[in-house]
């Protein structure tokens, strides 16, 4: 699939994307408008914005789960039609099949590729080991903690070896400590083969700690991008330690400066709205 003709093209490219929903009263709500962004191959990009600004909507467009009302999505230079087969998606909510054990949930991800059952299970067990859950293979999702379920979901996504990782506030529901552990786990796994990552979060610190580049969105309706900020922090990073780096603070200050005014604007709009 990774043909040489698309070697130069970005992994994900959104051009002039607008997404509108038809509401129950038949009026149209424009969630996002005029979005241009790209993720280069091997780049870790985070999108930050206030709650409800359409970050997840954008991610769903990149995944092919949602058809944008205007603009084009290009994946490695090819226009996306239907689902994005080259991407893996990590959801905010629990997305594991509750009727399958941790092992089966990971192994089933190989079935569409036609991998035999025995081999799929062996590879799934290996992946459970990589996310630190080798001993939990026989557990059903309800017997696992929130963090453990996320690890299984991570293994489920990565075992297919997708070229692009799309993540929708994946660690949002977890407590602060677990988030740090999960963040480091994600960076470790990502460092092994550097896939293109588009990571959506409302947590600016998390975005800076993880990403190569942070994209800030302003609040909807008709949300758009405020700006892009490179994060030149050295890798490998430790999520907890990088936050103590003075450079981290400088980056945080500059991004927060533009984000704060957007958050305030969103508040003002909310209060002014009828």
């Amino acid at each position: 699939m990774t043909g040489s003709q698309d070697a130069g093209a970005p992994a994900v490219e959104l051009a002039g994307i607008a997404i509108a929903f038809t509401l129950s009263d038949r009026s149209t709500y424009r969630a996002v408008q005029g979005i241009d962004l790209h993720v280069a191959a091997g780049e870790f990009v985070a999108i930050v914005g206030p709650t409800g600004c359409g970050k997840s909507t954008l991610l769903n467009a990149a995944a092919g789960l949602l058809q944008p009302s205007a603009g084009t999505v290009r994946i490695f230079g090819t226009q996306l039609a239907g689902l994005n087969r080259r991407a893996g998606y990590l959801f905010q909510q629990d997305a594991l099949m509750p009727w399958k054990t941790a092992l089966d949930n990971v192994a089933v991800a190989l079935e569409p590729a036609g991998v035999g059952r025995g081999e799929a299970k062996a590879r799934a067990l290996d992946w459970l080991g990589r996310v630190g859950l080798r001993g939990f293979a026989d557990r059903y999702p309800h017997m696992l903690s929130g963090g453990q379920r996320k690890r299984v979901a991570l293994a489920q996504m990565l075992i297919r070896d997708p070229e692009i990782l799309l993540m929708d506030e994946p660690f949002g529901p977890l407590d602060a400590q677990t988030r740090q552990i999960m963040g480091n786990l994600l960076l470790d796994l990502w460092a092994a083969d550097r896939k293109a990552v588009l990571f959506v979060t409302h947590d600016l610190e998390e975005a800076i700690a993880l990403a190569d580049r942070v994209i800030v969105m302003f609040a909807g309706p008709a949300a758009g991008l405020v700006g892009e900020y490179p994060v030149p922090l050295a890798r490998p990073r430790d999520i907890a330690e990088v936050r103590l780096d003075p450079e981290f603070h400088a980056i945080h200050r500059s991004i927060w400066g533009s984000l704060r005014s957007e958050v305030q604007r969103a508040y003002a709009q909310g209060e002014a709205a009828p």
Binding site: L65, Y89, A95, M97, A113
Partner: protein, 262 residues
């Protein structure tokens, strides 16, 4: 609460009830028995009759007929309900077109169909199976329909992002989801299969527990009626235990309900 204590208390209720029944029907209070044994029988008579029937072997034939009808009614009703439930849930047009007819058919009290089924299928087991089918079918149908339609959108989107095709989605997502809903109604639907069988027998047949009770009633044999009811009750409890065992085995992935005892 302690399991043994609970069981003792439960047995105590049964014993108290039997004792009350026994006293009221056999011991004269103020010169007369408060309950006439002709109309109310006595617990000892009922037990003696049941024992006699069990030893005599005749009862087993009736039990066998009722069990066969129940199993057939459940199997056919559940199969039909699953197939149509799936078809309706996956084909919106089909569901929209047939919606009023399904609702109308479900609203019909099924007992009125029993004489028609007796005409169509004769007095043998098939008219009872047909009656049980109409009862079981709708319960399973509605549950499977609901189960398939209410699959978590996140689980579904995730499965699609994993690259599953329609057949794989069916096998790994829709089918287990529908099965959960079907099993949650399993106790009800097995109960209804039995109701169909017994009511069918009661209204016209030559065998089965319903037939036996109806026979006893027609000669004012209250002891026979109560004996038949006792056998039926024990039968239902055993059937329900089997269903629970199957359920526990198949739905092992479900979180256990919070228990206050233990």
């Amino acid at each position: 609460m302690n399991r043994a204590v609970l069981l003792a208390l439960q047995l105590l209720v049964a014993l108290a009830f039997l004792l009350l029944w026994h006293v009221l029907t056999t011991v004269p209070i103020g010169g007369r028995k408060l309950l006439d044994p002709f109309f109310f029988s006595t617990p000892l008579d009922v037990l003696a009759r049941t024992w006699k029937d069990l030893v005599g072997g005749e009862l087993w034939r009736h039990l066998g007929i009722t069990l066969l009808e129940t199993v057939l009614a459940f199997a056919t009703g559940a199969t039909g309900g699953i197939l149509l439930g799936f078809a309706f849930a996956r084909r919106a047009l089909l569901a929209a077109v047939f919606d009023p007819y399904v609702k109308a058919a479900n609203a019909l009290p099924r007992v009125v169909l029993a004489p028609i089924f007796a005409l169509w299928f004769g007095l043998g087991i098939w008219s009872k199976v047909a009656l049980g089918f109409t009862l079981v079918f709708f319960i399973v149908f509605f549950n499977v329909y609901q189960g398939v339609r209410e699959v978590s959108p996140t689980v579904l989107a995730n499965a699609r992002m994993l690259g599953m095709n329609e057949r794989q989605l069916m096998r790994h997502v829709y089918w287990p989801a529908a099965l959960t809903w079907m099993f949650s109604s399993l106790h009800t639907s097995v109960g209804f299969a039995l109701v169909g069988a017994v009511v069918g027998e009661y209204l016209g047949s030559a065998g089965g527990l319903g037939y036996k009770i109806q026979q006893a009633e027609s000669v004012f044999d209250v002891t026979g009626v109560f004996s038949g009811m006792l056998v039926l009750t024990v039968f239902v409890i055993l059937l329900d235990a089997v269903v629970t065992a199957i359920e526990n085995r198949l739905l092992v992935w479900r979180p256990a309900p919070a228990t206050s005892t233990s």
